[in-house]
Symmetry: C2
Subunit: 211 residues, 2 copies
């Protein structure tokens, strides 16, 4: 604390970090690099080696964590999706009691960044590659269920109300479509207008927020 650390200091400190924590940090760096790589270069340009280099991790260490390319990239999309979900819940601690329109915007935003691009590349690759397909199908189901659960909670939707469940599902489908529309061009201005209109329609469909 306070002093300029020497190389010796740093090595000492690294030694004191429990091995398990260092392994977890390496794993996280690999997962984040994998999503960034997939978003930028697509499936064809994404290999364990490329990600290891990007994360500053040896190829051997990367393969210790993720034996196959499929392991690495499906784990990466799941990990980053969980991070984003946690962040989204933290953003609306008051949940349904808060601003529903703001919740709709935040849900739609889940589909416009690097995570969506990465997931899209994985998805499209899985449609042609038998090795990838079952893995991505399962991943999609898990992430989809979790996103639906968060949306229902944050929107204060009462799923026993007729049409409420399908209204929330349709919103998430629309969000996915808006993500696709943003892939090649910046679609922000149009998206904002569409979201404002459908948030109003959704608000009517859902009625009072349930707590």
């Amino acid at each position: 604390m306070g002093g300029v650390s020497t190389v010796g200091d740093r090595v000492d400190r690294a030694d004191r970090v429990p091995k398990q924590d260092r392994s977890r940090a390496t794993r996280q760096r690999l997962l984040e690099a994998a999503v960034a790589c997939l978003a930028e270069h697509g499936w064809a340009g994404s290999t364990v080696s490329v990600v290891a280099e990007r994360a500053g991790v040896s190829r051997g260490a990367a393969q210790h964590h993720f034996p196959t390319r499929e392991d690495l990239f499906t784990a990466a999309v799941e990990y980053v999706a969980e991070e984003r979900s946690t962040a989204l819940r933290a953003l609306f601690p008051e949940g349904a009691a808060g601003d529903r329109r703001a919740v709709v915007s935040a849900l739609v935003d889940l589909y416009t960044g690097p995570l969506f691009r990465a997931a899209l590349h994985l998805w499209v690759a899985a449609s042609n590659e038998e090795q990838l397909r079952p893995r991505v199908t399962e991943l999609e189901a898990r992430v989809g269920r979790e996103t639906h659960r968060i949306a229902v909670d944050l929107l204060g939707a009462d799923e026993s109300r007729p049409g409420a469940r399908e209204s929330v599902q349709g919103l998430l489908d629309m969000a996915r479509g808006l993500g696709l529309a943003n892939l090649l061009t910046d679609d922000t201005a149009r998206r904002d207008r569409v979201v404002a209109q459908w948030a109003a329609l959704l608000d009517d469909a859902l009625g009072e927020a349930s707590g």
Copy 2:
């Protein structure tokens, strides 16, 4: 007429077909084969040679019609999208006077077949390939405008009514997202429920059909 045609007969008849018509038929066969190929094998597995073989056309003839891979596949997606649009208009000759719910279903169906798969592969490839990107961006804008126009006409939406334009856009975004959800698994049952609910919300938003 009536007789069993011999090889000689067929050659004679082919000779009598004007050259221009034969060229157009070859072009159409190539375009249809290109969409099927892209839908099944993705961008990486789609070349002019593969399509030429599938269409039963010589590689030279294919290259005469489409000098580059980009030319062939962007033309193919545009051609098939136009075919589907024409078919959709023909399906609802009475337009806005007809069944709005059926129109919504038919619009959503535009995004669940081989054409959507092909377009998706092209779209995703364009996000990483500089050569393809401007071509696909333009194509997307043209096809998107045309689809919006058809949707407005068939739904009888009065775009001077506040929110009507954005309601129709949101519907098409949702349709695109539903297409994505159908990529790896058959999502028909869930999609039908979502479409029924959102068609009802849209109906409220659009009000009386304008002629």
